[in-house]
Symmetry: C2
Subunit: 251 residues, 2 copies
């Protein structure tokens, strides 16, 4: 890797890519529809322990539903026309000045452009932006010897199922994940406080691929130790705008 003059070889980045799944589950060949293009208003199931990619056009609203209330959903969004632009939690926190997104926040990309407007949330609003998606390394560390479904691979496979590939797994928005933090910065990992049927809505500010993983974590308590399915819908109307206005009027 080091050349005679002490410099690095230019090929050092040839192995940079983190886009390939480290194992497989049905996510890889079960898109919601060819190309991930939804029928507006239809309900699609993200089965327990799996992921799905859904195209959401600018102005459409994606609605993510937690049927049992106990399930964490790892969520990502990528610019349809350039997968190098993706929803970024570190940029979003800087844009919103919130560690946890709230209704009304505009979530931004790694190029600080608006991607998603958080337009409705029927749950108590406990979500997480701190933790990496679970991955095979995580389960190795938790003592799992064989392959374990994981959100990072679900992201990679869900893209693969619609003919796409990203070079890395961005830090996700962990919907309903309950990671309380103390003033000293220490955190805990607790089950969701959301209720059965709770949903969140995000209105797309650009054409996006939204990826959702029903987190397969069954070793620690964050899914109440029983991974369940999630539902996803894409709505043509900017439903969230009405919800937000209602919220404004009521507060």
């Amino acid at each position: 890797m080091t050349t005679a003059d002490g410099t690095f070889g230019a090929a050092a980045c040839s192995t940079c890519d983190n886009g390939a799944p480290l194992g497989l589950n049905p996510t890889a060949d079960h898109p919601i529809a060819p190309g991930g293009i939804p029928n507006p208003g239809a309900t699609y199931v993200v089965p327990a322990r799996q992921g799905r990619a859904v195209r959401v056009r600018r102005g459409q609203t994606v609605c993510i539903i937690n049927p049992h209330g106990t399930q964490v959903g790892d969520a990502w969004a990528l610019n349809t026309d350039d997968l190098g632009e993706y929803l970024s939690m570190p940029h979003t926190r800087a844009a919103t000045d919130h560690l946890i997104p709230r209704v009304g926040d505009v979530l931004v990309s790694n190029r600080r452009r608006p991607m998603l407007r958080f337009s409705a949330d029927t749950s108590p609003g406990v979500h997480d932006t701190q933790m990496a998606a679970c991955d095979l390394y995580r389960y190795r560390g938790l003592g799992v010897a064989d392959y374990h479904d994981n959100c990072a691979d679900n992201f990679r496979m869900a893209l693969q199922a619609v003919g796409l590939r990203a070079q890395d797994v961005p830090a996700p928005l962990n919907l309903w994940m309950n990671i309380p933090f103390q003033p000293d910065g220490s955190v805990a990992w607790l089950p969701p406080v959301s209720n059965p049927g709770d949903h969140v809505m995000f209105t797309a500010c650009m054409d996006l691929v939204v990826v959702l993983s029903a987190c397969p974590q069954d070793i620690i308590a964050i899914n109440n130790r029983k991974p369940m399915e999630l539902h996803v819908q894409v709505l043509d109307a900017d439903v969230g705008a009405a919800s937000s206005k209602e919220k404004e009027r009521s507060t």
Copy 2:
């Protein structure tokens, strides 16, 4: 981008790369030494508004010094042998259960392997893992029309100066950056509380390239509105281990 059968073209990822700087400053051609290889014990200056890459071998300790106490340092680390493995804040928070690293914490990579042991900190310990590196988009948003030095480009240029390139800019460890958070998750952006001459030490758990940017932010208060230089040293001894033991004995 969409083919006749509704699927995405496989080439959608051809523009994924975020490795090229969006502008230049002297960082690009002023490495600390050929290949970024330091003389152990020597002090290298990271000039105000610039970045530098430094090779740190496993078992060596990198010491980062804040001569004026008012300067934020954006820090990254990459596996020398595979730049696709990098210090990851979302994985580190999950490993340490801390939003802000503390002495004794082991900071991990995106593959959850130990990269840096936080071995000493003479400052009050106020650092940040929440915020993305400042970038050209950030300064555009703050009203700067021309090029503005920024930490993201400093990272890219510092690597370039030692013959390397990464495909993206990971979320940095923002040394001495003062981003207090409230129980409701709202944050503020305040000047550092560190003192002149404060330093932090990290012992390398693998062969690394450490990149440091003396943050050029002069519009908001996080560098007390006057970007200054930082110093960096690489020490052959595992100095931090002694410091940590002393700390253990004293507590």
